[in-house]
């Protein structure tokens, strides 16, 4: 960008067409934000399906009989804590502080893994008790909604692992910082989806 364009960009009231391209950081962040919102819309379809089918238990176990609230509370706290540690991690990246980044992102990974283990054990015990996804429409909708969220969390963990490896090999380059930044957005968005899951699926169980 030329000096003249840079000078124009700082003046309020300059038409958008004259301001020149936005920095990559802004464009990448905004694009990823749009992706996240479309991901939320996918979840909204699954939430709608679950709400409609939650009563269709086909004489099988109902939501109130299946779910253990204490277990869900621990899962929620794991995810919430990992969201905050991820925030501390992105602040550390902002400061280009490598030990703090490894520390906070490592804790984020462990908390995410804790959450997935708890969810996996819950699913396994449900299937073992004969309440698998094929039993009723309610259970199909449950496994699809909660399973899709779990799949997102697993992919997030793989992404985090790759990002940590990139930090080891490439260091604090703008490209790596940008990807970490998008990962942070993804992780916070998953936590927001989980609020919907624990409210509608687990606490709203009748």
């Amino acid at each position: 960008m030329s000096a003249g364009e840079q000078a124009l960009a700082g003046i309020p009231g300059v038409p958008l067409a004259l301001r020149g391209p936005a920095p990559v950081r802004v464009v990448a962040g905004f694009g990823f934000w749009l992706f996240l919102l479309s991901d939320v819309i996918i979840f909204s379809a699954l939430f709608a399906t679950y709400s409609v089918l939650s009563g269709a238990t086909a004489d099988g176990p109902s939501a109130a009989e299946l779910f253990d609230k204490r277990h869900v509370f621990l899962e929620t706290m794991c995810l919430l804590a990992s969201s905050v540690t991820c925030g501390f991690g992105s602040l550390a990246i902002h400061r280009a502080d490598a030990p703090a980044t490894y520390f906070w992102m490592g804790i984020t990974f462990l908390l995410g893994a804790c959450f997935l283990t708890m969810e996996g054990r819950e699913f396994a015990s449900m299937v073992a008790a004969g309440a698998g996804p094929s039993h009723s429409a309610f259970l199909s909708a449950f496994f699809t909604l909660v399973g899709t969220h779990g799949l997102h969390v697993s992919l997030g963990l793989v992404w985090l692992l790759i990002m940590l490896l990139q930090l080891v090999t490439l260091g604090f380059q703008p490209m790596v910082a940008r990807r970490f930044f998008c990962f942070g957005l993804f992780w916070h968005a998953l936590d927001i989806v989980w609020i919907g899951v624990f409210t509608i699926v687990y606490l709203g169980a009748k």
Partner: protein, 122 residues
């Protein structure tokens, strides 16, 4: 200067003070709201038919806390694009969820009970 004129990416901390403190305030609110939701779902203190409304309110409040304190989305001028995108996402989500629930409950309401249907087919 350049960045401000172009709008800001979501999740960016506008000032240094928006750092760790913002996450800690968010954590405090989020934990309080989560505890309130779990309490509301088990208590007999609240009038039972009102519990789903209370749960919904607490969930929306907590989502708001996450958006403001963790994602750092605000209505500031340089966040206009992010906020508009969020508003559209919320709009479509509400349309899909409440629309489906309304249509399906009307369908259920207007459909013949299953045993009557069986009798007719015989």
């Amino acid at each position: 200067m350049q960045v401000r004129a172009q709008g800001e990416a979501p999740g960016v901390h506008p000032r240094e003070q928006h750092g760790a403190r913002s996450y800690l305030i968010g954590l405090l609110f989020a934990v309080a709201l989560t505890l309130a939701s779990f309490w509301a779902s088990t208590t007999s203190f609240v009038y039972a038919p009102g519990v789903p409304v209370l749960l919904g309110t607490l969930a929306i409040a907590q989502m708001g806390v996450h958006v403001a304190f963790f994602l750092h989305i605000s209505t500031a001028p340089d966040q206009a694009n992010n906020f508009l995108a969020l508003a559209f996402g919320v709009f479509v989500t509400a349309l899909v969820v409440f629309g489906s629930m309304m249509i399906m409950s009307h369908l259920n309401h207007n459909m013949m009970p299953m045993d009557e249907l069986m009798k007719m087919q015989r």
